[in-house]
Point group: C2
Chain length 338, copies 2
DNA sequence: ACCTAAAATGTAAACGTTTAGATTTTGTCG
DNA sequence: CGACAAAATCTAAACGTTTACATTTTAGGT
């Protein structure tokens, strides 16, 4: 026995007023006599009226909803960023529609088309392809966009990044200070900002310290765990093994550590290690792992703040803005010289 | 220079047909001549028309959106469940609105009110309080609900759970088989199904094996990391220390392990250990950790499937359904008798 | 009591679809 | 060629708000 939804009309007629007046009290716009307001509030309570946000969006042309599109919720980095976004969003009366792209451009395009239909008020995205043109349709729509942790080279959008180069630089510098000279890097995809910039930081640090770059010690991964695992094995198989490894992200660190573990390639004894982004393991691993950490929740919060600035007033900033959050090197034991 | 959104009307007039016909081709309902269809498709392409889902929802009275409300996205358990939900949802043409309650009843109520306004088609929830009546308003709405990992004792809703008691039982049994006799438990909140049932499994296993329950070895946590940490310290401070510890969830395991680490209370030497829900650490910790694992993605998928059954046809199942997924004990080294 | 400005309330159009039911077009068959 | 059923298309109402503008009520001043 489905109960009919009660509408603003029902409330109006029960309270003996017009829908306009009801609307005014529901939206707390003031300018209605206390006595009538009371009548209306009572009617609302009696009927259990709840305003229909769909109809409201229809005329208001805003949904108070933002879309969030990231590659994978399961990655602790993203789940924390999302958490930061979501927390800030509800605080501001927005809701968050979430989709993951599994790093597929096709899925990305689909999701975005869908977001478009739904009329989200803004988008926060970590794209799978920074150079892709597949966001065209969405970008045509004038809906504000913030790119987080990745850039969108073909479009002018606000961007929230971390100090990737700087973080990596600091890590490598720290390793050299400890006396490591044969430092390998497990790189992320060079088509992504974090992948590329972290590598640049690595190169620059080595250069600045007069250490030659050895091709063999540069191996590529895709930011996934398995690729970190393979990369570590590759490095181990080398005639001339590195004496330290820098891993470009959390998942690859996990994989690499797993491999090292299996190979009995011992950090602290045979090997120094630093990874970008802290992982749960770092304080359990023997020895503890030196890591580059960043406040991911905050990254999410800032992303939303940037987006909100655009949603509230699209003319507030003429040019794209860029926020860069500095990471910090947390020195533990894995970067100590044996 | 904001471009005016093009509507179905624009398309209709450009293609020289009525809106009804356009609607039919947009929705692929058939019954329109190939020639007209072509005209319409061309008009759509030319104008860059995208259908307005808000208006559509308005008349269809469905949003193709489900709400997901969990305590904390950051917990790997939930992020995996969500991932499972979301994956299945998009596959079925649904979108997912996500909110976290931070285990607060007030936030839960607020979010739910909001969900109600927005007219979600269904809800998947892990409530903060299984006995709470704070869902009243939502429950009155006839929107299908699935409870996941927790029950909703005051309402008749479909529920997706894990074999909590069974999993704990198996774990404790395994410990006893290994010769442990002084087995402690770090309990979760007894007001929650996982907290309570895992404890019940613990008790039953001890009983069945003729081992007395020792009050001292039962300590309470709140499923948070800090509480696991404190619990382990409490156990360590005991005159008569346990020789094995069972931790009721992932975060508490993390905390407990941290404490044990600090206290140099060594698993594998002084102590056996098993935790409910696998954590990243388990294969890195020395010794490797025996854990009760479950397929969280699948838990999410099933939740969505249950929900969909109700959304598609609310009369398909008269009574509430309950799904219980068996976990599996992954035996590693932390449960070996020294 | 009357006038007037301000305050309160009301009226009705608009938002962009979907969909019954009405109407027109098409094609087949005698 | 006309009749008729089937196929294609159209018309218009409905969905539940918000809001500009119109109208009525209120209250203060004379």
């Amino acid at each position: 026995m489905k109960k009919k939804k009660t509408t603003i009309l029902d409330v109006a007629s029960l309270a003996n007023v017009s829908v306009a007046t009801v609307s005014r009290v529901v939206n707390k716009q003031g300018g209605v006599k206390p006595r009538t307001e009371k009548k209306i509030l009572e009617a609302i309570a009696e009927l259990g009226y709840v305003r229909n946000a769909i109809a409201r969006s229809m005329v208001r042309k805003e949904t108070k909803t933002i879309g969030v599109l990231i590659p994978d919720i399961t990655n602790p980095f993203f789940s924390r960023v999302i958490s930061g976004i979501e927390r800030e969003a509800v605080r501001r009366g927005y809701h968050t529609i979430l989709s993951s792209s599994q790093d597929s451009e096709d899925i990305e395009r689909n999701v975005l088309d869908n977001f478009l239909e739904r009329g989200i008020d803004g988008l926060i995205i970590t794209t799978s392809n920074e150079y892709g043109q597949h966001l065209e349709r969405f970008m045509d729509s004038d809906i504000p966009v913030v790119a987080v942790d990745r850039q969108l080279h073909h479009y002018e959008v606000d961007t929230v990044l971390s100090g990737n180069r700087e973080g990596a630089y600091e890590a490598i510098q720290h390793l050299t200070n400890q006396g490591f000279r044969k430092i390998a890097i497990i790189r992320g995809p060079q088509s992504t900002t974090p992948g590329l910039e972290r590598y640049r930081g690595y190169k620059k640090a080595l250069n600045d310290h007069g250490i030659d770059i050895v091709e063999e010690w540069i191996v590529d991964g895709d930011f996934g765990e398995e690729s970190g695992y393979q990369a570590a094995r590759t490095l181990y198989s080398l005639e001339d093994k590195p004496d330290a490894v820098f891993s470009s992200n959390n998942l690859m660190s996990m994989g690499a550590l797993k491999a090292m573990n299996e190979l009995q390639w011992e950090i602290g004894k045979d090997l120094g290690f630093i990874g970008f982004d802290d992982i749960d393991i770092s304080t359990f691993h023997k020895p503890n792992l030196t890591m580059i950490a960043r406040n991911m929740q905050h990254l999410g919060k800032v992303s939303f703040d940037y987006l909100r600035a655009r949603m509230d007033d699209e003319n507030e900033f003429k040019h794209k803005r860029e926020y860069i959050m500095s990471p910090s090197l947390i020195i533990r034991d894995s970067s100590k010289r044996p």
